[in-house]
């Protein structure tokens, strides 16, 4: 059988790939997708521990996280549309200042 640690390693790898992309990339969409990737990595850890302890809490939390991710994606994409209409660019450095 596969140890829980193997699943947790995949989870950690996905999380830090997402984190590295979040830091390194400047494209607004790619940064958003890196956040989704990190959320998914955490979900995998939750499901692994749910399996490890035979407890449903982890699976329920994953369902809630998926719903929160849907809400986050809806608002974030509306903001992206607004920002793109305003500045005609997807470079996150251009959106440095919150005012105006």
């Amino acid at each position: 059988m596969i140890p829980a640690a193997a699943y947790l390693m995949v989870s950690a790898a996905l999380f830090f790939i997402g984190a590295a992309g979040f830091v390194a990339r400047r494209n607004l969409f790619t940064v958003l997708m890196c956040i989704e990737l990190m959320l998914n990595a955490v979900n995998l850890a939750f499901v692994t521990f749910s399996r490890q302890w035979g407890h449903y809490g982890g699976q329920v939390i994953v369902l809630l996280v998926i719903a929160v991710a849907a809400a986050e994606a809806a608002v974030a994409l509306a903001l992206v549309v607004l920002l793109f209409r305003n500045k005609e660019t997807l470079d996150v450095d251009v959106f440095g200042q919150m005012r105006e």
């Binding site: 829980a4 640690a5 490890q52 699976q59 607004l82 997807l90």
Partner: protein, 168 residues
Amino acid sequence: MVHAVLFAILSAIAVVAAISTVLRRHPLASALSLIVAMIALAGLYALLTAPIVAILQILVYAGAILALIVFVIMLLNVRAEDLEYEKNAVPRTLFALVVAALPFGAMTWAIWQVAPAPLPAVATGFGSLYDLGLKLFGVWSMPFELVSLLLTVAMVGAVALAKRRLDG
């Protein structure tokens, strides 16, 4: 044995697709890579006897959220030649690798300290819709209702934001 082979294949697909998500220049290519990663993750959930979570992962994540992202990328009509050259790509990448590698190393060590044992067997029927539903609408009903409230607020917020006039 089959379990181990499936785990190796699915986790390799997930990690490669995740790296491709981060590295591809065009956001549409990233989004498609991310869909592949999500589907591989759904397979891993199924291996962990969480079939409902696996199905919802494909329906909601790969189906709805990523479709929404792809839709907005196409709506904004992002073309490869419109993408700006990403400034300071090399120092940023090095910084990101250091930032990610250090905690990843620490976490690897911690993981093998805590959970090296194989996964225990679970009762037959673990992860069934019936049991998960009892938990979701039983002890977890309060967070569940709060999430539905959050979804409503997010929906109203998204419509209000997207409809706003630029200079109004």
